[in-house]
């Protein structure tokens, strides 16, 4: 459950930001990453940006997440460990 997923900040206000994760938009707290700015990539875990990340590292991670998502048999999708891939705005 310690998986964190990269996203790019597309809007920010105070200690909140809207993060784009390959088309999914998620509102996250940037309380833990006060240095993060619009356009930055962050690692998101449990609704919080926990670290900033370079674009190259973020894109490599997404490439891997897409690969395993495509490899996974359909019956296995939707398990808790897959949840971050489909995280909805909450």
């Amino acid at each position: 459950m310690c998986l964190a997923v990269p996203g790019r900040i597309v809007a920010a206000a105070a200690d909140e930001a809207t993060v784009d994760m390959q088309g999914n938009r998620l509102r996250v707290s940037t309380l833990l990453t006060p240095e993060a700015r619009i356009g930055d990539w962050v690692l998101v875990h449990a609704g919080f940006a926990i670290s900033t990340l370079s674009e190259q590292d973020a894109l490599e991670t997404w490439e891997y997440l897409r690969e395993i998502s495509a490899l996974e048999p359909a019956e296995n999708r939707g398990e808790p460990d897959e949840a971050p891939l489909r995280q909805r705005e909450s």
């Binding site: 310690c2 990453t33 926990i50 670290s51 808790p80």
Partner: protein, 363 residues
Amino acid sequence: MSPGIDTLRSDLRRLCERVGRRVQIMEVCGTHTVSIFRNGLRALLPANLRLISGPGCPVCVTAQRHIDAALTIAARPEVVLATYGDMLRVPGRLGSLEGLKARGACVEVIQSARTAVQLARNFPSRKVVFFAVGFETTAPATAAAVLEAARDNLANFTVLPCHKRVVPAMEMLLEAGDVLLDGFLCPGHVSVITGAQVYRPLVERFGKGCVVAGFEPAQILLGLVRLLHQIEARQPALENVYAAAVRDAGNPVAQELLQRVFVIRAATWRALGEIPASGLELAPAFERFDALRRFDSTLGPDEDDPACRCGDVIRGLVQPDECALFAHRCTPSAPVGPCMVSSEGTCAAWYKYQRTARSPLGV
């Protein structure tokens, strides 16, 4: 940019040949365990390199007494119990949250601690209890939720905190001395918060190499290559191959939040027992948010099935299929032991990815 898988594999093969003897590395993190199984990495490893899955699934190691406390509190009609999805199927002595939800209790699956606070705001007539599990990666979110509730004076919000710290469990395994380990592949996203520095005592006190790695296959293989280099040179060290996200000092804001909201206490790990300084409880200033106090709950006993060998699996003494319950009485849909409960548990990963080759049932 990491070197390619093929290069890493041949590096690993060459290093393992040179070391010659059997090498045992523990991958501490459940996310590593799942990635290793999902990508078939075990099959790619040289024969004398054995990976042991450590106690790195916070869902699995949550003690029955805490599951039971969550069940007792969630059974109250005025309560909304909010927790992460992985917790729903974990059996305590009194059943599981999934079963209780099916019988009509209000159990909400959330993906962010902030949602629990929002629930308390949206439903002022209900008592919202956040059953909070997770390692250092997840605990700062709980700390932030508590601070938000304190700031807004949310009287109907409490937390049942079951957060755990990874390093004390690693130290306990080494102190017990029954697992022969040559080094640790350290968790990536825990280390984003704690920093790579937290593993330094394991290197200095116990002489075990520690390499922090991300969860992608190339990262895991690179971590193993670095560990094997250390083992060959007999020079255990602290290394970080996941510098993309992990700094030596970690995330100072998150650490400050943890220090403000929590105090470090001993905690009971399912199948491992009590480990000193491995748990986070609410600091005195935030005790009013402690669900156990608010609902005057006491923690009951833990009663693990005597045939269950999860404790030995977590300690790396046996493999899941050496347990008599595995794939018979204990399956992901009806888990007996903690390692089968969460998809990141060693037995569940083994069941999902490795069972067909070994199952006596052939299913």
